[in-house]
């Protein structure tokens, strides 16, 4: 089967604006979804779930969230870790305060609470831009971590200062707590990611997404064609924080089970998710997946190869990882600001015309 767009004529505007206009892409997408839902759950074990799949799914949610704000709406944020913490603590408080409510509702509510907090910290974006906004969100990051450390009410006055997820069931199967099977963690996060990615795709392809992108590309022109910058920016902060809050809730409850805020949701987390969208591609849902996959897999791969195969010291492998990530960030920022997604697209464009270069 050739990768071609010729002969695949669109006869309606609906067909023309679909997510995967090329048939081959569409088929590949269905195959990936079928494998993700139908095959992986049967093969997954604890190692693969904890080292690769679950963190990938959760980071992909966070990356989509940050990409909506930064990649689509052009508002730089270094507060991702802090907003994930809001989601985690909101989820924890809801789980312990209302144990009878289904766990998915807690996760969704944690998202909405984070959205509210995000809007609050997004208010400065109406006045300041770029570097200054980044600094303001950095302040949010440190303030939120400090808050969750300082006020014992948030961690239910536990002696350790940590929060620990109690066991919660969905359809009679544990999804949080120590007894959760690997496949249940995986499937629970996968379903949420799948739904959220679909929503994000819908939002970004219609008028809401165009408002965000107009603000990103030229805010003055956007305003003059009728975009209200206040609602456009704050809606981006709200939606973005909703995603990041859900990612934080899952990171705490499903993935780690117990967290100490500074360790799990510190400034490194903000940078990690930012690096994901830079490497994956700003302003692209696919890029969020690619970036999350890349930065989750890289350390696992390096550890297995360098430490496992060549017997290097673990800290040496960790340093090499830092160097590789740093180099890649510089490469993508300078050479290819649209990230892996763009490299992928260029490769596809070449393939579409192959074997004739023009």
């Amino acid at each position: 089967m050739l990768y071609r767009e010729a002969g695949d004529f669109k006869t309606s505007y609906v067909a023309d604006s679909q997510t995967f206009p090329i048939k081959f892409d569409r088929i590949r997408y269905y195959i990936v979804v079928a494998i993700a839902f139908g095959v992986v759950p049967f093969l997954i074990n604890d190692y693969w779930a904890n080292a690769v799949f679950v963190p990938f799914l959760i980071y992909a949610i966070a990356a989509i969230g940050l990409n909506i704000l930064t990649g689509y709406c052009g508002q730089v944020s270094l507060g991702t870790g802090g907003f994930m913490a809001v989601g985690a603590y909101a989820c924890y408080k809801l789980m312990t305060a209302m144990p009878d409510v289904p766990f998915v509702i807690h996760v969704a509510l944690a998202g909405f609470i984070t959205a509210g907090v995000g809007v609050l910290f997004g208010l400065p974006s109406l006045r300041i831009k770029g570097f200054y906004l980044a600094v303001a969100t950095l302040a949010a990051q440190f303030f939120l971590v400090w808050l969750f450390n300082k006020v014992p009410w948030f961690y239910n006055y536990s002696a350790s200062g940590q929060i620990t997820a109690p066991e919660r069931m969905m359809f009679g199967i544990a999804v949080t707590g120590a007894g959760t099977p690997a496949w249940a963690k995986y499937l629970f996060c996968l379903i949420i990611l799948f739904a959220l990615a679909w929503l994000a795709r819908n939002l970004t392809r219609g008028s809401v997404g165009r408002r965000w992108m107009a603000i990103r590309d030229m805010d003055i022109a956007a305003e003059i064609i009728g975009v209200n910058p206040l609602t456009a920016k704050l809606s981006a902060f709200a939606v973005s924080s909703f995603y990041i809050g859900i990612a934080g809730a899952l990171f705490f409850s499903v993935y780690l089970g117990a967290v100490e805020v500074g360790e799990a949701f510190g400034i490194q987390k903000s940078f990690l998710v930012l690096f994901m969208i830079i490497i994956g591609g700003l302003g692209s849902i696919f890029g969020s997946f690619a970036g999350a996959a890349f930065l989750v897999l890289l350390p696992v791969l390096l550890k297995n190869i360098l430490v496992g195969q060549f017997g290097w010291a673990t800290d040496l492998a960790a340093h090499i990882e830092l160097m590789i990530v740093g180099g890649l960030i510089i490469f993508f920022l300078i050479v290819e600001p649209h990230g892996l997604n763009q490299l992928w697209r260029v490769a596809k464009e070449k393939l579409r015309l192959w074997p004739f270069p023009h």
């Binding site: 505007y13 609906v14 819908n202 219609g206 809401v208 165009r210 107009a214 990103r216 064609i225 009728g226």
Partner: protein, 275 residues
């Protein structure tokens, strides 16, 4: 000041187009930037259906005047009247929603988006679907998208840019960018269209195309147009009436013929160059 044309009655132009009542009136506008007076006590009106040009040497304050109309600059003195009512101070996006669209002297397209998406953004003022319906891509969201797409395709056909529909605007040559910007403004189906030097930097052929588009827009959709242009041939051909500015002051106002024969205008702009 504009007593030569009676208000609220139709006048026919030579080519038989209808010119209606006063659509927009600027009354004694003064705009200062710190100590610099960009506009000094200027009054003029724009009538429904006409092509109204604003001309003047560089720095005369023409773009500033458009920026006042689109709510981007707030004049220190004077009033803006639109459709028979005094317009309160408005944000640019509120002005856009009143049916005023524009293009910019320095192209202001959304470089990260395709031509199609750029033109679709022009219709944002007409789109109603909320965040929720949009995120689930419910029937209404999809129907709205398709309906607006159909309108946008008409504009794409009209401006003859079918071939570049999916191209990112950043890759387009200058002349086409200007055309896409016009398309984006037209997409809003404006009552009043403000064009800031739509032909600057174009070659003769591109200028001819652009002139044809402007005349067609005015003719077919009855859109009122306020035009800033340096090319005198173009201005004299297209305009129904012309305002002449110099150093922020109005030095002439009338039909192309009247303006051409106005001594102050000849001195300031047409014949004698500024030293």
């Amino acid at each position: 000041m504009n007593a030569q044309i009676p208000l609220s009655s139709y006048t026919m132009t030579a080519d038989g187009r209808k010119i209606g009542a006063v659509l927009m009136e600027m009354k004694n506008i003064t705009l200062r930037f710190g100590g610099v007076k960009a506009i000094t006590d200027i009054s003029f009106d724009i009538r429904e259906g006409e092509i109204r040009s604003i001309i003047g040497p560089n720095g005369a304050g023409k773009s500033s005047m458009l920026n006042v109309i689109s709510g981007f600059y707030v004049p220190q003195e004077g009033e803006v009247w639109f459709r028979g009512a005094r317009r309160p101070q408005m944000k640019p996006y509120e002005v856009a929603r009143q049916g005023i669209a524009r293009t910019f002297q320095n192209i202001a397209l959304f470089d990260g988006m395709s031509v199609l998406d750029n033109i679709m953004t022009g219709r944002l003022t007409l789109m109603k679907t909320g965040l929720l319906a949009q995120s689930f891509w419910w029937g209404s969201a999809e129907r709205e998208e398709t309906a607006h797409r159909e309108k946008v395709e008409k504009i794409i056909d009209f401006l003859e840019i079918q071939a570049i529909r999916k191209t990112p605007v950043g890759r387009l040559p200058y002349g086409l960018k200007k055309r896409v910007e016009l398309a984006r403004a037209l997409a809003a189906e404006p009552k009043l269209l403000l064009l800031d030097e739509p032909m600057a930097g174009m070659n003769v052929e591109e200028k001819e195309d652009m002139c044809r588009f402007i005349l067609d827009v005015n003719d077919e959709f009855g859109t009122t147009i306020a035009l800033i242009e340096h090319d005198m041939g173009v201005v004299m051909d297209l305009s129904d009436r012309v305002v002449v500015m110099d150093y922020g002051k109005k030095i002439g106002d009338g039909t192309p013929d009247e303006v051409r024969n106005n001594q102050a205008v000849i001195d300031a702009y047409l014949g004698v160059s500024h030293e």
